[in-house]
């Protein structure tokens, strides 16, 4: 039960400050709490497409309210918090320092602010304060403000760690983490600006916001963390550092410009739609730069991948990144939009992106790195169960949504009655619930695994808190 780098995790974790281990694990624990809550909300919503009367008596659990509870729990709860948990380990490692007293305090403060934001935001959503269902900014401004404050605290923390680094260069993982914190702050401010709340100005900002909230936060975090995890687990350098830099800057320029592809064929100016379309296709460059870099690093490492329980997640996540980005570029084309936009196809794409790309990469990093912090490994069988349930369930969900959405779109183009296009979806919606149940089971397995990786007694045996970690490398 070793990770392929060759050092047992309890040795790797020796000398870790137990307060630091607890901080990371608190972020993880919060993340998995929101993962389970978001999964429950998603399952209810999915089942409602099969039986629309389900829980129909409660205004709190209205379809239109539970949907943002599901999406925002996943985005701001699960995915963000697990990324931050891992970044809190990766950034000090790259800077070759350990977090000091002030930084640990800041990390805990950010955790509180962040959780308060998500709790308050979720309560406001259930009570019907939906910010007019502006997608991914449904939280009221005060809840988003709490999260933004947490982001600023984290940015300050990461910046401070990088500034007092013990090496000359700043490793590319830190680039992505620092930039993501700076970018998402701009995104949140733009999303809640009091001007541009009327007419199509709001829609232009909406298109920008909803794509940048994903692409300037989750993508750089997931990619940046993988730039640390992958070389670490394989015990070899990344294939090409220059490709990573190319990926970073092309991602910055191209991704920022593509938000309007959610509103093709609308009254938004044509030039904006064309810019979005061109750069959506150009996204192939940063995607291939990063994912190609990862794949070439993994080239020839089949044995290591088979022996590891974390690398399969990384490999799946990287392949998912390629596929889902190719799908996204394709979807932005006007000819494709004609038939597939506004259907369930888009929902399938969104799930593919947040699951097979972001979540799988983060799970890979989580299983690869957390045992090095806490000194405890999860049971391998449980992780395997997690992998296969998540892979199978996710595949069923994405396939049913994409195939069903394509059929739904075809029914619209052919001019069948709208109700026919609803009936066509029914079997796919049943399959979606099946996939969702498997994913829910996977998330329960993940939660148990996270519990098994909790910081514990091993730390006290192999290292006394506060001492300098006595090892080279990293």
């Amino acid at each position: 039960m070793k990770i392929p780098v060759g050092i047992p995790v309890f040795v790797a974790a020796a000398g870790t400050d137990p307060r630091f281990a607890r901080l990371v694990h608190r972020w993880l624990f919060s993340a998995v709490f929101w993962l389970l809550l978001g999964t429950a909300a998603g399952l209810i919503e999915g089942y409602r497409h099969v039986d629309p009367e389900f829980l129909g008596g409660s205004a709190l659990l209205t379809y239109g309210r539970l949907r943002p509870v599901h999406t925002l729990s996943m985005l701001f709860g699960w995915t963000s918090m697990v990324s931050i948990a891992l970044a809190l380990y990766v950034v000090p490692k790259c800077a070759r320092v350990t977090m000091d007293e002030a930084e640990l305090k800041a990390g805990n403060l950010a955790l509180w602010l962040w959780n308060a934001g998500v709790v308050g935001g979720t309560a406001a959503l259930l009570a019907g304060q939906l910010n007019a269902s502006r997608e991914y900014r449904e939280y009221p401004v005060w809840a988003a403000g709490l999260i933004a404050a947490a982001v600023l605290v984290l940015f300050g923390t990461f910046y401070r760690i990088v500034a007092r680094r013990q090496v000359k260069g700043v490793y590319i993982s830190c680039w992505f983490v620092l930039a993501a914190c700076a970018w998402i702050a701009v995104v949140v401010v733009m999303g809640y600006l009091p001007m541009f709340q009327r007419g199509l100005a709001d829609t232009i900002v909406q298109g920008y916001y909803m794509h940048n909230a994903v692409g300037m936060w989750f993508t750089p975090l997931a990619v940046g963390l993988t730039y640390y995890t992958l070389p670490k687990l394989l015990n070899k350098p990344i294939y090409s550092y220059a490709l990573g830099v190319l990926g970073f800057f092309t991602h910055l320029v191209f991704y920022t410009l593509i938000g309007t592809h959610h509103y093709m064929f609308t009254a938004i100016p044509d030039w904006l739609e064309n810019v979005a379309l061109i750069f959506s296709v150009a996204m192939i460059v940063p995607v291939f730069a990063s994912s190609g870099n990862f794949l070439l690093t993994m080239w020839g490492e089949r044995v290591a991948i088979r022996q590891s329980y974390s690398l399969p997640f990384v490999l799946t996540g990287v392949l998912g990144y390629v596929l889902v980005s190719a799908q996204g570029s394709l979807q932005s084309l006007r000819a494709v939009q004609d038939g597939w936009h506004l259907t369930h196809y888009t929902v399938g794409h969104a799930h593919a992106a947040m699951y097979f790309f972001v979540s799988f990469l983060l799970w890979g990093s989580m299983y690869g790195l957390v045992p090095r912090i806490t000194g405890r490994e999860p049971p391998v069988g449980l992780v395997g169960l997690h992998y296969w349930l998540a892979f199978g369930g996710g595949a069923i969900m994405v396939a049913s949504l994409c195939l069903g959405g394509a059929e739904q779109g075809a029914a619209w183009v052919e001019g069948q009655s709208f109700m026919d296009s609803v009936r066509v979806m029914r079997p796919y919606m049943v399959w979606r619930v099946v996939g969702g149940c498997l994913m829910a089971a996977a998330h329960v397995a993940a939660a148990i695994a996270i519990y098994q990786m909790r910081p514990g007694a091993l730390l006290d045996i192999f290292g006394s808190p506060g001492t300098e970690p006595a090892r080279e490398g990293s």
Binding site: F33, G57, A59, R65, A124, M190, F196, I268, V275
Partner: protein, 277 residues
């Protein structure tokens, strides 16, 4: 230190941030400001208070999650029809019976336009022309499948009250979902979940207190909001016609709450505006 982003962390943070802000200005701030200027607020087209309230109900239940308000068209395919240039409607949107895509000025008075990104249910542009009966909307909101077989829309029964003849309008035979025992259970569960979470994460410290406060605060918030939905007894509108298919108990009457009235009014107001000069 030289301006080398590989070793100068200040440059490393500032360069991507500056590039990002410039690009955001180009694709979000500038076009949004242009849009604001091009289509100013028009006081003559202010909706009535009831319609505005209905719009708030529409927003509060997240209806836009499933219903778009956009008829799409490709401006590059403009063609001369009679004396004016017309943009043809895209094939998937043609079913809604409108001969022209939605124009920017039609959204100019909305805060924000409920344009939507998914069409699980039909588009609502011009629904006031297609379905002009307020009764139909009441039946449809109370029991969507009674008038629209095969629909997957959830019922919005909490916008109505069911009364028996003897009660008179407004006195509920069975109230809405709140506040019942189940609701208190839910709220207690939420508070307990936060408390347990806080205890697991932070130990039995003031953290537990804060978690409890959050849970109780959330509970208070939910209950207060739900009591707001309960209308004063004399403001309902009795729905008399066509309620046989709704599966009400014998002799019961359906009373539309003010929210239901407003929502129906808002839907009826979604008419295609006459083309401006």
């Amino acid at each position: 230190m030289a301006f080398d982003i590989h070793s100068n962390h200040r440059a490393l943070v500032l360069l991507p941030l500056c590039i990002y802000v410039v690009l955001v200005w180009l694709v979000a701030v500038a076009p949004a400001a242009d849009m604001d200027k091009a289509y100013p607020v028009d006081a003559r087209r202010t909706p009535t208070d009831l319609v505005r309230r209905g719009e708030e109900v529409f927003k509060a239940y997240g209806c836009v999650v499933c219903h778009t308000q956009q008829i799409r068209g490709d401006e590059r395919l403009r063609e001369q029809r009679g004396d004016r240039l017309v943009v043809p409607v895209r094939a998937p949107d043609a079913r809604f019976g409108l001969d022209e895509p939605t124009r920017a000025e039609e959204y100019a008075q909305s805060r924000p336009p409920l344009i939507g990104t998914q069409r699980t249910g039909p588009d609502l542009t011009g629904v006031g022309d297609r379905l002009p009966s307020v009764l139909w909307h009441y039946w449809h909101l109370y029991d969507p499948r009674s008038v629209s077989p095969g629909s997957v829309m959830p019922p919005y029964r909490y916008l109505f009250r069911v009364t028996t003849e003897a009660d008179g309008p407004g006195l509920a035979a069975h109230d809405g979902p709140f506040p019942t025992g189940k609701a208190w259970l839910l709220v207690g569960g939420v508070a307990l979940a936060f408390a347990v979470l806080g205890w697991l994460m932070f130990g039995f410290t003031p953290a537990l207190g804060l978690s409890l406060c959050l849970g109780v605060g959330a509970a208070w918030f939910l209950i207060r909001e739900c009591q707001l939905c309960q209308p004063p007894p004399d403001q309902g509108e009795v729905v008399e016609d066509g309620i046989e298919a709704l599966g009400l108990p014998e002799g019961a009457r359906l009373v539309a709450t003010p929210d239901a009235k407003a929502l129906a009014e808002y839907l009826l107001s979604l008419k295609r505006p006459v083309r401006g000069p």
